[in-house]
Symmetry: D2
Subunit: 337 residues, 4 copies
């Protein structure tokens, strides 16, 4: 059984993690090439992971016949172009979110995917591959909680990363595009339905710097979906306790809560502060296994000639909704879809 | 030190509890009279609690010089009239919520209270007297969580009481008036601020009967308050696990969650269903101590010549806001205050 | 219905609490007299609680025909004598633990109780009146956890009270007599069985002062009971997080844990230390309701002509077992009963 | 960097898992050969995992120059012989516990390891490689909980696997040898100390079948270690809720609890049974990552010329202690080391 040969693009924090996972944690795959504009980091990482093929140019990497698939962890603005080029070059493509930085870009990606129906395209909504989310999803689909009433989902980044967030704010799409997209994806995935209305509020509670970009440091949105389900999203950048991604699904016959205590591990500490759990530090810690699982699914889809459950259209739809939430927040008006 | 002599009005479930508490659990008070239209229940209860003075007529009870104060747990539609009459008769008044069934009625109650500045008037927002809520309140006021960002509060009644709720629906003010008023009170109390906008959604997810009255079995509302705080309220009638009142206050420097696991007691059960906590059954169980504490505060205010923190204007304001939420829900429009 | 008139003896922390409860929180009882050797404290407390009859002499109080019952919260060494004298004087008696400071003293108390079968005698094993323990007890007796396999019970006092514990050490019976007696009582109550063997270990882990009295600051004991149930007890004085009384009962069909997280209230705090619960501070906070319930039961037994479930023989038996545990600890040998 | 070529021996549940992990989850290793007496299972597994070299004979596998190391997941009675033979054949050896079925066998393994100081030998105490245990260990070693007072550790197998346990009972070493060895290893690892005394109790609470072999279905042991630390172990086969491995370390300045709620994942379920967490099903689920980590450490030790922290002497010592606990249980006497 020949291994799928993957070229991984971008060696930022998440890119590095994907490369390490492909090198050692994914069955049926081989880290065949690395690509990054930073030659020094590229060389060091490739040496460490034992990868011979190294490219500072994405196009040169695409030209290599030795690569079956690419994993894109490049800057968001490059995603659409790289997706199209890679598919055109005959490669399977896994792209980190967002699909594109505008809805128009997403449409371009859609076209590229449609033009290559024999290639696997997959978008990195990693939460769908977290074991706890999957477990909850199976219960919901099996009808164990009855009809969904309220879907509530939080994404909170730790306050201690705020300097980075402020520095990045000018290039950021804002809280809804940056963070809430994952919650929007989950809401659509769990309900199988689409938003009908959206009302969004928020502000700069601790960091006025975000106001300059029309953004808040904490925002929220209440939507009603076509199936009647209420959806409440909250995205914040000032969590005092760590990285907090939690979801609650209230149904007519049961309620599921995923990670309502965003614990780092199974250790409970009793000391002068009381009885406590330490919190996940960041997305890499919380979703460590999910990042492996999603690449595994990408590789398995290629091997088995399947298409991933998450499609290019999901990427577009999530972006559209996030833009509507953003517009609702900026205008103070109720949005109707 | 002479005990405050209280006449308690109404012997429904909560009225009975109030009577029992006054008889045995409140310092400095005496259950001096009971009043209910049901003579049989009145007699039995008075016998059991050792109360000589029994009235089927509220007016006759008011005429008794032997009573210092009344506790009103009568049907909502009677509250305003009884408040005014009791104050006029020189009694101190504790009234269960709601203050009145319309905002106009609330204004009448305000006038009556204003006309008797030497009398104590107190409204039964019992959650303010729950020890966990008070503990959280002190932390918020001491600045321990910084600036409030999101105030989220749930009131969920158990599904197993749904028949009663349906039977009562015609006379009910709906979910926002019946249940969410407590959450609205808490939001105003914790933030010290007032709503500026409200958007409400919901529906009949399990019980279409509520639609006939323009109500839902589960509803929610997103508001932004004048101080910027986001407020998300959820009120439901179909909780599978029991009575669930929980509140979360996310601040810039800390987060407090009150009763996020609505546990019945300190017993944890490990059996074939996993590791579980049983849930509070109803408001009487969850707020057992709060119901004592609030009457204690009422009695202490009378004894010490103080006025309670919660005023008649709080009652009016909460009703106004609940009516706006209801209007938002019915119209599907964004409300601006 | 005439109220039971109680004279309360001893105004230390717990004595004061009992007096306050009798004055205001117990149905069918009246705080008719107070007794303490400290005249100043006696006067202040009696004034505050509105009690006219005040005694610096226990014998004088007993002479009062105006008193139906006494509640003894006096120094342990006085218990037996006061129990006998009070019964002789025709009073019902509630005594705080221990029944006596030696097993011989306990026998004297037994004789006194036997000599007055028409009087109610009750011993203050308050944990049996805690709502969580009672809930667990009912489940065990109903067979919900099958046959008990392991009964594990901890009593931990907070480190911050260590100075008081050291100062009291010379007069203390040691960890098994002071603290573990409650766990021994629970083990006998839940299993309905008696110990057959005991092996005890421990030491001075933080405070060598206790060694002078043959005691440790933390000790434990493993016993096997006649019904086969394993019983593990742990008693400590150095808990960093607060007052921790927890019990686990492992059965063949279910497991119950009581207060495994000794939470102060229902507030959960998320801050830089993680996600935490604050802990109960001391026994008065943790067993606030149990202290009310036990006096209520004492009063109800008097009113209804019943005898309390916990008998004078339970007091003796628990003392015997605690002394055996102490002997096991001091000798390092296995004790057989 | 050449990969370490591993031959994996034994394809039972755990053997299969090790083989799969080596094939796909361990960096720097290659699953080079498989060995099992069951030719059919061997062929199927080798096909599935893409392994060409297949052996029904252990000796033939050892003869292969193509293998650097062996992982032994064979029946316990074969361990010592296979360890010695593999080391003699120049292979590095990872062996599942127990090191040997008697202390004498363990000594033979010691001799074999001593005779090949250039080979890596490692024993499968996987709990040391669980992330939560490692996290707790670092805190203990950093002094964060002060001096250890009580080390409590439970190993509970689910009741639903009882038929298998009964079928295996004749060949089992009993509860202390089968299950408590992991807790004994943890106690020694965390305290860095050795037992001085042991008292053990238990019995057949649900399944009299174990009595025939001098064993119980649930047993416990209280030990005091040389450094004074109290150690309480409990091992059971009848857990109603699932697989429960938990440990508590009470120190003078802090307390750590590892997996006191043995949750399956981060999903909390609220339904008619209350608020619950589902439990880990078995050791493979609970220690999924630990099993990967330990083989990774074995491979890294080989690659880096290091020796693992857990030595052959740990294997012997744990067996000696487990035999003493067993003797204590069988005799009802206190053991002194």
């Amino acid at each position: 059984m020949r291994k799928i040969r993957i070229g991984s693009v971008g060696l930022g924090r998440l890119g590095l993690r994907h490369a390490e996972n492909i090198a050692a944690r994914v069955t049926g795959a081989e880290l065949a090439a690395l690509c990054d504009v930073d030659g020094k980091k590229l060389g060091e990482t490739a040496d460490r992971l034992g990868v011979a093929a190294r490219f500072e140019s994405f196009d040169e990497m695409l030209a290599s016949p030795d690569i079956d698939a690419v994993v894109l962890v490049s800057p968001s603005g490059l995603h659409t172009g790289q997706i199209a080029a890679a598919l055109e070059a005959g490669k399977h493509v896994f792209s980190e979110k967002p699909l594109g930085v505008t809805v128009e870009e997403c449409r371009i990606a859609e076209k590229a995917v449609e033009a290559h129906p024999d290639r696997v395209f997959m978008l990195g909504f990693m939460r769908r591959f977290d074991e706890s989310y999957r477990y909850a999803y199976r219960k919901v689909k099996a009808g164990e909680i009855g009809r969904p009433i309220l879907f509530r989902s939080y994404s909170q980044d730790p306050e201690r990363f705020i300097d980075g967030a402020i520095a990045f704010a000018a290039h950021s799409g804002g809280q809804f595009l940056d963070m809430a997209v994952h919650d929007i994806d989950l809401a659509r995935w769990f309900t199988g339905s689409e938003p009908r209305t959206a009302y969004a509020v928020g502000g700069c509670y601790a960091h006025p710097e975000f106001a300059r970009y029309g953004d808040g440091d904490n925002v929220s949105c209440l939507m009603q979906f076509d199936d009647g389900c209420m959806v409440f999203l909250f995205a914040g950048r000032t969590a005092p306790h760590g990285y907090n991604v939690e979801t609650e699904i209230i149904g007519t016959e049961g309620i599921l809560r995923i990670a309502s205590v965003p614990q780092k591990n199974l250790v409970e500490i009793l000391d002068t502060s009381g009885i406590r759990r330490e919190c996940s530090e960041n997305f890499l810690e919380r979703f460590e296994t999910a990042y492996i699982n999603e690449i595994q699914e990408f590789v398995d889809c290629i091997s088995q000639g399947r298409k991933p459950e998450v499609s290019v259209y999901d990427g577009t739809r999530v972006s559209e909704i996030a833009y509507s939430c953003k517009a609702a927040f900026e205008s103070g008006e109720l949005m109707r879809f």
